[in-house]
Structure formats: structure tokens, C-alpha cells
Amino acid sequence: MSSKVKLSKEADQKAEQIIAFHGYSSLEELVENLINNEYEKIKSGDNKEELANKLSGLGYIS
């Protein structure tokens, strides 16, 4: 997958504001962080195995 991403002018302006507000050092760091967060959400919140473990922990599925 290419690492180059083309942003619209509007998205670019918003990204600049987010970088300034949160103190990111670069656009790359912001994007990497957003990707990591989204990935973690998939891993932690939506993991079917984890859900199965939780329901199993409560006893409702074996």
C-alpha cells in the first residue's frame, strides 16, 4: 500500500488545527496515531473472540 495520501484543502486545514491543538510533531505522527487508534478499536472493542470470552466468563455461552 502506498504511504502517500492526498488530502483535500479542507481536511488539510483541519489536520493543521488538530496538530497544533494536540501538539503532534507532524502530519505523519497524527495519521499514524489515528490509524493505531482505529486499529486498537477493531482489536479491543470488536474482537469476536474477546466477546466470546466475555460471554463465556459470564457463563452464558460455554
Binding site: 470488536d46 473472540e49 460471554l55 459470564l58 457463563g59 452464558y60 460455554s62
Partner: protein, 655 residues
């Protein structure tokens, strides 16, 4: 009185005339005790009362009321206790099942709380430190009834309350119950160390099983797996090693762990043992606690290590308000279980525990709850005003596992086990009656007392895979037509051609355009399709015995307030007595058959039509309704303390 007659009679014992009925704004008294006995079934209470086995419940009911109480749609504990907390139907507080689903991904999500990952990691050597820590967010919307009491400076203590993890912000004393995870973030992963090679090869996932190698010095080495160390880039799990010195001659063992020595005899539990999981040496660690249970010695060595509970003395996650309350309790009664549902039903289901082992553990948990209750009861006795709510989980967990012991029609009925342990359900009810007796003996008779449950119980004999039925009826399509057992609809559904699917323990969804990612049902078609599906679901008949499988398919928009209805399933499946969703269907996995026998100790359940499993209501005061609703309890408590029913509440005061 037979159960059916009792239910028909609407409890029969319910009084319809209140003995006190004043306008809100004028307190009726200063103190109230509410005991929450999860799963207490009014039919069983009625039978045992009739036999004179529950003298304290009888005495309480004679003073006021004993009746059944309507539970929620569906009668699942997080939903029903949410209704108790909010004084409202689930549409107001937004929890409709253990599991919801994300319509954009179709993936099931845990309904009660959401875990948000930590953000913005700073790299420092081998560590990566979060600038913003991860957190767990309670998804219950609206205010809890004790918030309104706090506004009036009326103190409330609520112990082990379900649907309150993490505890909502409050100045009241609350300790989280159902929903509280273990140190791994799960609802309980245990470990088994066994010298039986065959057993050590068995798949007990997600639990851990290890071969117990005992060396020539009679020493076994093991380890307890802790949480992943997110502060290290590689993120490996932290482990705590321990050694067991086995003394077969005296049938005892000594366990050395982190400088502590724990002595236990065969068939005994240790006390709680606190252990530290080090994240960064000398800087950051997480405290957990376990119990060791030496199940067998001699020819076979079997050691059970409980899930690692959050320590109430030093909780790694918030479990109480104020945060020091969990420690206060531990300082007075010693360490205590903190996990969601502490009796290890999985260990029995997987064969790690025998029924005797499970009963031993259940009674140990119950004993711990009683010590905690004694402390709070004494404290409450000294208070001039306020509410004490105390929750017990043992009846619910017990009935899930004990049902088949007394049900000859259950496919998992074992006559031998029944002869040995069939007494246990009634004995548990008698134990709870003694808890009530203690409370009644400690309190001024003028203090009103309410004993309530969230639902009753029913047999779980046959398991239903609703997704298999949907495929048979043509509402759910599988890509390539391969609907083999073990396949997940999440991986194989042909969504653009699918009109309905089932996820969760009672949830049933339309695949709606504009809401689901690949929705197929137009908004204009919605109502007609819901009614068509309702009729077809209610017409399903079990080919084995000709019984109806679903006694009512509840269309959500006809049953819930609208505030949070977007989270609700489109239909809540109200199973008939004897039926429940299958394990597979709950998570979207297909089975070989639509309906199959339930062959396991988890043999009783309540995730059915709420009319089939009413809750219990026993109070020292009379009430206005013959059959109250669980959402009426909070307005009743508030009215007693002189607080008008808040606008959010859909329940009505009973006094």
C-alpha cells in the same frame, strides 16, 4: 399453590390498597433497606413458603406484600437492574441485551460498557507511555435514582450493584457488581494445574490448563498470567511465578508466591492472595488477587487458581464511589471478590469442577457476601437516615447450574447427581431467607424492607439457532450458499441479499438500508416486514415435542421509550419456557440444526419471554398495584424519601 396458578392469580398475595399514600415532597420515613436477590423465582418462593421453609420471607410478606413483579423485555440482568437503577424502561437507559451490534460492521459489541484505548504514546527506551490513559465508559444513559437522593443530602449505599461498572460519578457509596472485569479485562479466566496428562491436553480455552510436573523433591512450579504490559513496545503478558511444595502424607501443600507462604489442605480454598504485576520495576505495577483451590492430591494432583480479581485495596480500575469505599470494606471484612459473577460456572461447564467443587465455591462466595452484608447492616443500623441496597449473585448463578438436578425432562438430567445434590436449590433459598431474618432482627420494625429479584428462572432444555432458521426461511443469505456448521454470518452473509439476522441473547435485527452498512430493507418496508417476521417467529414449533418455541416476538418500537431506541434490536425474542438462543446463534455462528438439546450444566436460564420468568417482590409495606414492574421500584424509593418521580422515569411509585 402450583406455579401456574400462582402466576395466574397475579401473586394472589399482593395487596391492592396502600397503607401509606402521601404526596411526593413529604418523606414517609428516613430509612429503607432493599435486598437484591438476583434470580429469585416467585414460583419457587411460593412453593417453599407453602412448606413453611421460608419463615422470614413469609413474615415480611404477611406484613406487606409478596407478589411477582414484571421484569424487563428482555429479562436479562444488565437490562433489568438497569431498569431498577433508572426507574425506566430500557429505551430510556439504552441497554437492551448483553450484546448490541455495530450496524456499520455487523459485529457484536458489549452493551454495558465500552473500552477506549489509550492515546498518544510517548516512546521512552523499551517503554511506550500513554499521555492519555485508556478508559472504560459506562453505556447506561440517564441518571441513577441515588443521584436524586444525593441532591437532597440523603445518603445511599449500594453494594455489588449490576449495570454500574464503571461506577457512575456519585458522592454516594457504591460498589460495582455485574460488569466488573478481572485484571485481564475479561469476566474471569481461571487456571488449572493437573498431573493428569490427558486432562492437561484438553481445550479449556479461554481458560488455562497446564501439566503439573512434580519433581523428585515434591515441588511443582507454575505461573499466573497477568495483563499485557502495554508500556512495553512488544506488549508481552506479565507473569507471576509460584512454587507448590506438595506434602501428600499430610494432604497439604505450601505455595510460595512473591515472598508469601500460603498453606492449604486438600479440598480447601486459600484466603485471597494479593499479587503484583510489575509494569515498570519500582515505578508502576498492577495489584490483583487470586485464590488457590487444592482440589486433589495423591494419585492425581489438581490445583485450581481463580481468575485474578481486581484488588479492592488497590483497584487497578475504578470499582467504587468514592474510590476509597472498596478499600474501606476490605479494611473491615478482609479482601473480597470483585469480579462480575464470582462463582466459576465455566469451571463446572468445562468439567474442571465437579458439582461438589462448584457448590463449595458457591457457598464460599455466599459466605463472603454475607460478611460484607453484616458489616453494611451494622453500619446501616447505626445510621439515622438513608438507603441500603445490597445485591447477592449466588441464587442466580446457582440456578443456572443446578436446574437440571431437579428437572427430569431436562436432556442433561443425571439421576445420580440429582440424588446427591438435588437439595441445593431449596437450600440456597433457605440461606437467603436467613439473610433476611438477620436483617429483620437487626432493624427497627418501622424501617421498610423490600426483597426483590430482577427475574425468575426457567428450564433451558433446547437451544435455538435463529440464524439457521432465518436461512431456512430465506431471510438470511449466505454467500455461495455454503451455510455449514461453524461458519459465521459475520464472515459469510451475503448482506445485500439478507433481510434479517440475529445477534445477542434475545436480539433480532432487520438489515435496514441507511442504517446497516449493506442494508437491504427499505424504510418503507420496515413495519410490514417486522409484523411478518413476528408472526412467523411466534409460529415456530419444535419438531421434537410440538411446543411453541417463541411465545412472543416483541417489536421494539411498540415496547420501548424512544430516547435510545436506535441501540435496540428491532425485535426482542421472547422464548417459551424450556428454550433459549443457542451459544452459536448469540455470536452469529451457524449450527447443524435449528433446535438442539442443551447438553450442559448451564441448564436453567431467564433470557426468555419476561412473562415466563417474573421477578419476586416481597415488602414490609403494601403497594398500589397487584403486579408491580421493576421500573416502579426507583420511583417508590424516591417517593418514600419525599422526592417526586423525575421526568426521566417511566415507572410509577407503588406507595
Amino acid at each position: 399453590m402450583k406455579r401456574r396458578d400462582f402466576i395466574k392469580a397475579g401473586g394472589a398475595l399482593a395487596a391492592t390498597a396502600p397503607f401509606m399514600n402521601f404526596g411526593a415532597g413529604r418523606p414517609l420515613g428516613k430509612k429503607m433497606l432493599v435486598l437484591g436477590f438476583d434470580g429469585m423465582d416467585p414460583g419457587i418462593v411460593s412453593r417453599l413458603m407453602g412448606q413453611g421453609q421460608l419463615p422470614n420471607m413469609q413474615r415480611l410478606g404477611d406484613r406487606g406484600v409478596f407478589t411477582m413483579m414484571r421484569s424487563t423485555v428482555p429479562p436479562q440482568s444488565p437490562v433489568a437492574w438497569g431498569s431498577f437503577i433508572s426507574g425506566a424502561d430500557p429505551g430510556v437507559f439504552g441497554i437492551f441485551d448483553f450484546l448490541h451490534r455495530d450496524p456499520q460492521t455487523y459485529i457484536p459489541i458489549f452493551a454495558q460498557s465500552t473500552t477506549l484505548p489509550s492515546r498518544m504514546l510517548v516512546k521512552l527506551g523499551q517503554y511506550q507511555l500513554p499521555l492519555k490513559p485508556g478508559k472504560v465508559v459506562l453505556n447506561r444513559e440517564g441518571r441513577a435514582f441515588w443521584d436524586y437522593m444525593e441532591e437532597r443530602d440523603i445518603p445511599a449505599t449500594l453494594v455489588k450493584l449490576p449495570t454500574n461498572y464503571p461506577p457512575s460519578a456519585s458522592g454516594q457509596r457504591t460498589l460495582s457488581g455485574m460488569g466488573t472485569p478481572d485484571i485481564l479485562g475479561t469476566y474471569g479466566i481461571y487456571s488449572l494445574f493437573t498431573s493428569d496428562e490427558n486432562e492437561s491436553q484438553s481445550d479449556l480455552s479461554p481458560n488455562n490448563v497446564y501439566y503439573a510436573y512434580i519433581d523428585e523433591n515434591n515441588v511443582m512450579e507454575g505461573q499466573i498470567e497477568g495483563p499485557k504490559n502495554d508500556l512495553v513496545k512488544e506488549g508481552e503478558n506479565i507473569v507471576v511465578p509460584f512454587k507448590v511444595y506438595v506434602d501428600n502424607r499430610h494432604r497439604t501443600a505450601r505455595i510460595d508466591i512473591q515472598g508469601k507462604e500460603v498453606l492449604i489442605a486438600e479440598k480447601e480454598y486459600s484466603d485471597w492472595v494479593e499479587i503484583e504485576f510489575t509494569l515498570i520495576p519500582h515505578l508502576a505495577s498492577i495489584t490483583g488477587m487470586v485464590k488457590f483451590y487444592l482440589m486433589e492430591m495423591g494419585e492425581k494432583f489438581r490445583l485450581y487458581v481463580s481468575p485474578t480479581h481486581v484488588s479492592p485495596r488497590n483497584p487497578a480500575v475504578p470499582i467504587s464511589t468514592p474510590s476509597g469505599y472498596s478499600r474501606e470494606l476490605a479494611d473491615h471484612i478482609g479482601l473480597y471478590h470483585t469480579i462480575s459473577l464470582p462463582a466459576d460456572t465455566k469451571a463446572l461447564s468445562q468439567g474442571t469442577f465437579s458439582m461438589e467443587n462448584f457448590i463449595t465455591q458457591s457457598l464460599s462466595v455466599f459466605g463472603e457476601s454475607c460478611r460484607m452484608f453484616d458489616y453494611e447492616l451494622q453500619r446501616f443500623s447505626r445510621q439515622k437516615e438513608g438507603l441500603l441496597f445490597f445485591y447477592f449473585s449466588a441464587l442466580d448463578q446457582g440456578q443456572h447450574m443446578f436446574w437440571a438436578l431437579n428437572d427430569k425432562e431436562h436432556p442433561y438430567y443425571h439421576p445420580e447427581e440429582s440424588r446427591k445434590f438435588g437439595y441445593i436449590t431449596d437450600e440456597m433459598y433457605r440461606k437467603f431467607d436467613r439473610v433476611l431474618g438477620k436483617a429483620l432482627g437487626s432493624l427497627d420494625p418501622a424501617v421498610p424492607v423490600l426483597v426483590m429479584s430482577d427475574h425468575g428462572f426457567a428450564p433451558f432444555r433446547r437451544a435455538v439457532n435463529v440464524n439457521n432458521w432465518l436461512i431456512q426461511e430465506g431471510y438470511l443469505k449466505i454467500a455461495g450458499g455454503d451455510a455449514s456448521a461453524g461458519a459465521s454470518i459475520l464472515d459469510y452473509a451475503d448482506w445485500p441479499a439478507t433481510r434479517a439476522y440475529a445477534l445477542g441473547l434475545n436480539g433480532f435485527y432487520l438489515n435496514q438500508k441507511g442504517r446497516e452498512r449493506e442494508g437491504a430493507v427499505e424504510a418503507g418496508e420496515r413495519r410490514r416486514l417486522l409484523e411478518e417476521l413476528k408472526a412467523k417467529l411466534e409460529a415456530i414449533v419444535d419438531p421434537k415435542n410440538g411446543e411453541k418455541v417463541i411465545s412472543c416476538a416483541y417489536i421494539s418500537e411498540d415496547n420501548f421509550s424512544r430516547n435510545c431506541i436506535q441501540r435496540a434490536p428491532d425485535i426482542v425474542l421472547g422464548f417459551n419456557r424450556g428454550y433459549r438462543i443457542s451459544d452459536d446463534s448469540a455470536l452469529g455462528t451457524l449450527s447443524r440444526e435449528i433446535i438442539s438439546d442443551n447438553m450442559g450444566w448451564w441448564s436453567g436460564d431467564h433470557c426468555v419471554d419476561p412473562r415466563k420468568v417474573p421477578a419476586s417482590f416481597i415488602s414490609s409495606f403494601k403497594i398500589l398495584k397487584a403486579v408491580p414492574d421493576i421500573q416502579d421500584v426507583a420511583p417508590t424509593i424516591l417517593k418514600y424519601f419525599g422526592i417526586a418521580t423525575p421526568a426521566q422515569m417511566t415507572g410509577k411509585a407503588l406507595i
